[in-house]
């Protein structure tokens, strides 16, 4: 006898419950909608941080780099010098400590290998674009335009490309070898570079007539004057001049007492460079009108400068550089900095207190730069800011002329320059397609900001680009508090012997661990939690990178939506 013989005698159920379509119990059904992470919204370049970190977390640095390069052509650079607004907004910062995104960007660029992908767009008609200046803005614009298939030519004044990346940032922050490789990756897209060409106004008109579009990214190299007495004397230099002219550094080997005026990244680099090229026992002091905790420079750089023995004083501006044959001291008057409520621009004002006198045999003023207005026709520059005016797409008031980088009114940082180049490239490309920029570009902006998702332009993604995931929307219960992996640095004593790179970069295994700390806010990383936690087995794995909902059986309980660590799933009225 077997089971069949027993079945008529005592209840043995062999039918299946799948005949009951329990999906009819509720209209509510979950749907997957990826959203923007706050780090991405804050990143001017719109880097898809949660996405590339998810691959780095698996050790797939190649694909992580590929994703990184989709939105930002200069990861080796940004991974070293960026002021990382992403980290300030990182949701993990409200859990334990922010993810070391900048270090990870560097690690990915170091350990991964990828070739930037061409982006084919329908109805393509290639344009020829001339770019003036091969700093980060120009390189970025060229990069995206070349990927769109346009013909790009860059005109560079100096012998080598890179602009402020090469001539403004010292090796100990950005080694030249690294920069060269990064720029080659961009140029290898077929971009034409002519260096050693100083474009004046007449040449500019000529270039404009021979190309469809012009992108101006010459940067700002003319130093601001402090307005102090004797500012032009021989022992007083200005910031970028000092940094750019490497050959003349030997001339300062005897200087023992250096005063640097300024509180920004250039000033910090000036101070740290002076420490390395002046006398062995040189004393370097940085003075800026801002309060000490409001210096515009990146906090890590200030920390490293302090470690190296640089003295930093806030709340003063120079009134006089004094000396008979050579510089003997600098007189400084109390000052403060605030924002002009009318223009929103920072302004310096006198403050109460006594003057400060600092002994000095060498002074360098690094309080910012302005553009060379010789190049520009009337009307291009904005009188208040001395910058070129551009609209939301990077267009100047002149026809077929775009601008970006430090030249325009935005934060004078590398990643902002990259963003301006990217934005202009897309606008130029859409213009070439005769597409409506007003219609296409705004939806690509991330969250409430102006960063663009190039990925979403190329590939229609099922993402809500305007929704930014807040910390309170995450389910962090399955994460444990762990300290971040911080890059090691060379000891200060060893550092100042020369210009070797100060930060060592994360080791590969630590980079993987640090990438795992990323919550991947708003992105589905296929963690399978929704799949595993459905009591009705109604989350289906389709074999692609997406999950589907089995509406025939889903009871709308919303465990998946409530539990998703990344807030990807929401409940809706069944479709």
């Amino acid at each position: 006898m077997n089971l069949q013989d027993v079945e008529p005698l005592t209840p043995c159920a062999r039918g299946t419950t799948t005949i009951f379509k329990t999906g009819q119990w509720s209209q509510k059904k979950p749907f997957y909608m990826e959203k923007v992470s706050p780090c991405r919204e804050a990143c001017p370049a719109g880097s898809d941080i949660p996405s590339f970190l998810s691959f780095a977390a698996e050790g797939d640095f190649d694909y992580a780099l590929e994703l990184l390069l989709q939105e930002n052509p200069l990861p080796c650079v940004c991974g070293r010098v960026c002021y990382h607004p992403c980290q300030t907004e990182c949701n993990r910062g409200q859990f334990d400590q922010e993810v070391e995104i900048r270090s990870l960007e560097r690690a990915i660029a170091e350990f991964g290998f990828a070739v930037p992908k061409t982006m084919s767009a329908p109805g393509h008609s290639p344009q020829s674009i001339a770019i003036i200046g091969s700093g980060p803005a120009g390189l970025s614009c060229a990069y995206f335009l070349a990927r769109f298939g346009h013909k790009v030519k860059i005109f560079e004044k100096n012998k080598e490309p890179g602009g402020v990346l090469r001539y403004g940032i010292p090796d100990y922050r950005l080694p030249k070898g690294v920069l060269r490789k990064e720029i080659n990756r961009i140029l290898s897209l077929g971009i034409d570079l002519e260096s050693g060409i100083n474009v004046d106004r007449k040449m500019l008109d000529n270039i404009k007539s021979r190309h469809d579009t012009l992108f101006l990214s010459i940067g700002t190299w003319i130093p601001r004057r402090a307005g102090a007495q004797n500012e032009n004397s021989k022992d007083v230099l200005h910031g970028l001049d000092f940094l750019a002219d490497r050959n003349s550094r030997g001339a300062h080997r005897d200087k023992k007492r250096v005063v640097v005026i300024g509180g920004g990244d250039v000033a910090v680099d000036v101070a740290r460079t002076a420490l390395r090229v002046c006398a062995r026992d040189v004393k370097v002091t940085m003075v800026a009108p801002e309060a000490l905790d409001e210096f515009p420079a990146i906090p890590e750089s200030i920390k490293e400068a302090l470690e190296e023995g640089i003295e930093i004083i806030g709340g003063y501006r120079p009134s006089e550089f004094k000396g008979t044959e050579s510089l003997e001291y600098v007189r400084l008057a109390p000052a403060k900095v605030d924002k002009d409520p009318r223009t929103g621009m920072y302004r310096m004002l006198p403050a109460k207190g006594k003057d400060l006198v600092l002994d000095a045999d060498f002074a360098i003023v690094a309080i910012g730069q302005i553009p060379d207005s010789e190049l520009f026709r009337d009307g291009l520059l904005d009188e208040e800011s001395h910058k070129v005016y551009v609209n939301e797409f990077g267009m100047t008031t002149a026809e077929r002329v775009y601008a970006g980088g430090d030249l325009i009114r935005q934060r004078p940082a590398v990643v902002d320059a990259i963003a301006s180049g990217k934005r202009a490239a897309l606008a130029i490309h859409l213009g070439a397609q005769a597409c409506d920029r007003e219609e296409i570009i705004p939806p690509l902006r991330l969250g409430a900001g102006s960063s663009l998702s190039m990925q979403s332009y190329i590939e229609e993604a099922h993402m809500d680009l305007k929704r930014v995931v807040q910390f309170s929307e995450l389910n962090t219960l399955l994460f444990r508090r762990t300290p971040p992996y911080i890059e090691k640095t060379v000891s200060p004593g060893a550092r100042i012997q020369g210009f070797r790179e100060v930060r060592k970069g994360l080791e590969r295994v630590n980079a993987v661990e640090e990438a795992k700390r990323c919550f991947n806010c708003g992105r589905c990383i296929q963690c399978d939690l929704c799949f595993l936690l459905c009591p009705d087995i109604s989350i289906i794995k389709t074999g692609t990178s997406r999950y589907e909902v089995d509406a025939d059986y889903c009871k709308g309980c919303s465990i998946c939506a409530t539990t998703c660590p990344r807030h990807v799933i929401e409940m809706g009225d069944g479709r």
């Binding site: 419950t17 005949i19 977390a57 399955l478 994460f479 963690c527 009591p535 794995k541 309980c557 539990t563």
Partner: protein
Amino acid sequence: MGSERLIRAGHEMGQKEQLRQGHYACPGCGVALTMRLVLRALGKNTIAVIPPSCAASVAGAFPNTSFEVPIFHSAFEIAAASAAGIANALEIQGLNDISVVAFAGDGGTFDIGIQSLSGAADRNDNFIYVCLDNEAYMNTGIQASSATPENVWTVTTPDGRMGRKKHFMEIIAAHRIPYAATASIGHPQDLIEKVTRAQQAYGTRFIHTLTPCPTGWRMAEGLTAKSAMLAVETNVFPLYEIINGTRYRITHEPQKLPVKEYVTIQGRYRHISDEGIARIQKEVDEEWDSLVAKTKGCA
């Protein structure tokens, strides 16, 4: 060790699944979810034993079943004895690669089922006993059991239960069975790993799972997994193993969140006072310290 990151865990669909769709569990049912995960881990060569309980309702009504594996419907108080009988029968027939698993509720384990479980554990009969603890007799309408925590509302303790929740892991440890563990559906990786480890051992193996019940705990249906996670992260329900009744091993380091976060999302704790919460916090902290002390000197 408990997962901080579940990435591309590669969980298979299809034939790994031993629970079918279309079962009649309430939306958000913790019992259905637990059985699904346990059966996934155990696989096709399994015979389940289920007493009258919510689990039995999930398993189906004649002539349909929601399980891909055979089920024996035991009497209420003897899931363990029935599982033991089947385990011995299989051994006698030389069928040594079939796992026998009993799914019993807290009532059928802590109260009326304790004698039968104790007897089976004493004999070290070869099966896995999974206690689906939703902290009350839910199938009959939310009556209190000895698994109901102090202060909790049920229909038979409308002013909040007076006694403390029975410390069942200690009772089972006293039987010196080869493997005992706590598990939670809020930590599915940990649960699956424990079931797999249990499956590889021989003898009576006990897994105490916390299976929140939105209906009985008076909370939104979607909070099932999250409340289980909170139970673990607040140390109300720590995740650990006891080997041979003496070796303790904590399998998940909790975040040590305040118990208030766990208590306040459940309507069954609605009338608890601040002093009540403080008392719970104190007990939870003491229990945790005591658990940690037990792990000292264990490999």
